[in-house]
């Protein structure tokens, strides 16, 4: 095959172009650390990359949502702790009234104390976080426990005005966990009624202490204990929920790590491989430059 000068420069140009464009790709890969920069780099990786990136962001959102749920649960727990504490103090006061041989004015002081504790419990039941009532179910802007007049005699009774819906969060895709306690769960009413038993009980206790009616007081103590154990069960459930959320957060962190690893396989460059290829291509280009310099050194014109 006859070799002409145009051929030589053609071949050199073509080779150098090819080497340069390959080098360009490798440089981008090495500089960005990624082998996948646009869909055409690896069309079959497009869908996995989109899907895994979405799963990673989902997982981050779950973690964030669960973090918020955890805060909510903790806030609720401290309010429940208050409620339990209040009821405990009512109990102590009542026992004091039962055991002690107290005169009328002492009993009055104790009765007033129970009245105050009842108000304290009401405040706790109407606790708000971020301007929202936490024990009102979905009706977060409605005060859940309010005093209303009842019957003809103008008796005041506490009524529950919230609803029966507990707030839920997704802890894993598709699995919901209740993270709030509704007022009706916290202070249940007798069947069909709207007025929570506990406030009735406290009102009765107050009246009985005032009247020194020890026998009846003993009977009401039983209801008080029931309420307290009810709250304790709720707190226990909530503790379980908190653990569940905590575990879920850890699981999601683990899952996120795994997903990052999988995603990396699709889009990150194997730096060692990239560098060695880069060096290879640079050597090839250097050789091409060298050859082209040598070509121009030899010319028949120098010999004629």
């Amino acid at each position: 095959m006859k070799v002409t000068d145009q051929m030589i420069s053609n071949v050199m140009q073509w080779e150098m172009n090819r080497l340069n464009s390959r080098l360009q790709d490798l440089r981008q890969e090495a500089a960005s650390g990624r082998k996948f920069n646009q869909p055409s780099d690896d069309p079959s990786a497009v869908r996995p990359i989109i899907s895994y990136s979405k799963q990673i962001r989902d997982s981050q959102r779950y973690q964030q949502n669960m973090g918020m749920a955890l805060n909510q649960l903790q806030a609720q727990d401290s309010h429940l702790d208050n409620a339990e504490d209040t009821l405990l103090r009512v109990r102590q006061t009542a026992i004091h009234a039962i055991n002690g041989s107290l005169n009328e004015s002492d009993l009055k002081i104790l009765a007033d104390q129970v009245g105050q504790l009842r108000n304290e419990l009401l405040d706790t039941a109407n606790a708000r976080v971020n301007e929202q009532y936490i024990f009102a179910g979905y009706k977060v802007d409605t005060k859940p426990f309010v005093e209303v007049e009842h019957g003809d005699e103008g008796d005041k009774v506490i009524e529950y005005q919230g609803d029966e819906n507990a707030r839920k969060v997704d802890i894993v895709p598709g699995e919901k966990l209740e993270v709030s306690v509704t007022g009706s769960n916290l202070f249940p009413s007798e069947e069909g009624g709207e007025s929570p038993d506990i406030f009735k009980t406290l009102s009765k206790i107050e009246v009985m202490i005032r009247e020194g009616d020890v026998d009846e007081l003993n009977k009401e103590m039983k209801k008080l204990d029931d309420s307290m154990s009810g709250i304790r069960i709720l707190r226990g459930n909530m503790g379980t929920a908190m653990n569940r959320v905590q575990t879920s957060i850890e699981n999601q962190e683990q899952a996120e790590n795994d997903l990052h690893r999988v995603l990396s396989k699709y889009q990150d460059a194997d730096i060692v491989k990239t560098y060695s290829q880069l060096i290879q291509q640079e050597t090839a280009l250097r050789a091409a430059y060298n050859v082209s310099a040598r070509i121009s050194e030899i010319s028949i014109l120098d010999y004629m």
Binding site: V11, S40, V140, I300, L301
Partner: protein, 468 residues
Amino acid sequence: MSGLFAALNIARSGMDANSKSMSVVGNNIANLNTPGYSRQAAEARSLPSLESGGLMFGQGVSIERISRAQDVFVHDRLLDAEEEMGRYSAMSAPLQELEQVFGVETGDNLAGHIEEFFVSWDNLATNPGGEVERAQVIQMGHNLVSSFDSVFRNLDMLDGNISQSLSFEVGQVNAMLKEVAELNTRIARSKSPGGEAHSAMDRRDLLLRELSGKLGTGTYKGENDMVSVVLPGGRILVQGEGAHQLKEKEGSLYLVSGQSESEIGSNDLGGAFGGLLEVRDGIIHQVRDEVLALRNALRDEVNEQHKNGYYLDGEDVKSGENFFTYDPEKPYDEMKVALSNPSEVAAAGNTEAAPGDNENALKMYALSGKKIEIKIGEEEKLEGSFTLLDYYGKISAHVGMEVNQNKMRLESSGDNLNQLINRRESRVGVSLQESMLELTMYQRGFQAAARHMSSVDEMLQTLMGVGR
């Protein structure tokens, strides 16, 4: 007629032939770097011998003709290679632009806005009564709509750019077709012996290659060395001394012959034109259908779910309305966000629509992971079940594959073309070494003939001296 005078004549013919050859070689060297130039050679032939005294004496040399190196086989293969190269290199730019529209990186692309829209519902779920969260849902809806609009705008723009470059190329192609016809004329007229139109043929070969690259045209030889140029579908563009013209109207191509115009379909075209039409009418068209299918599926699912929710209008509880509007008569027209008031966002799943009710917002967010039946085109062909983002991924992968395939084909057709160009160079190109050696050879030939002449001259003088 032998003798010294005859010898003088022989010497003269030698000097003449060598100097003619010199100028042919000189012309070759001058055209060393001219694209499309074919090497020429002076064809020397010894003149017929004459009988004298029973002996046959040669009469010297003459240059019969100047020939042009040719390789029909390589030329035909070159036309094919130019066609492929023209096609894939024309497709490469619009495809790469198309790829930019369907990036995979999260952020300012369609996938990002789809996700942000659903995430805004998840944020709303954490505070379903929040004015800010509700306004955010509407805002993200607007962003999503404008993101779809911008994809369609980009596709339209690509479409328009392709039509524009077609109309630009048509002018060039027409000029080339005309020139081929003119060259045909010149070549046919110069058919008289010795008057070959070599440079016209070089020029015509080059034009035929370019035409093949642009239109995928084939050629065949007619009489008097004229060539005809035909489209891949068989329609004639140049025949003999006449050339038809192409015309671009509203993105379509027409062949104008006399008074009549006939449309040329993409099947009748190869090369750059064929490639551009393939991108515009094939790939971009399909991608647009796919994006529409995605948008319509998203719109219907969101509207459906939104209607299952409830919101508070002052004191009254209302069911959600369509979140996105469109004209049901023209489902392919623009889509808009229907809600303007944040309170109309139906976050609640229960008929009381209590402010803490986030059930519908959660279901709305869940749509982002739901598999939806995607139907494509006006005839609503079922594509299969995809999540919205996965379907976006399918579109993006489809575009990526086209770009990737184009890159590989472009490289291999470039390789092929380059090899053929080298083959052609090797067969018909000018080699400097060869030409320099020829130059020396003819120089020496001329010098020898001149020496011969002066020897004969000396002999003549000697002869004349004898008679004195």
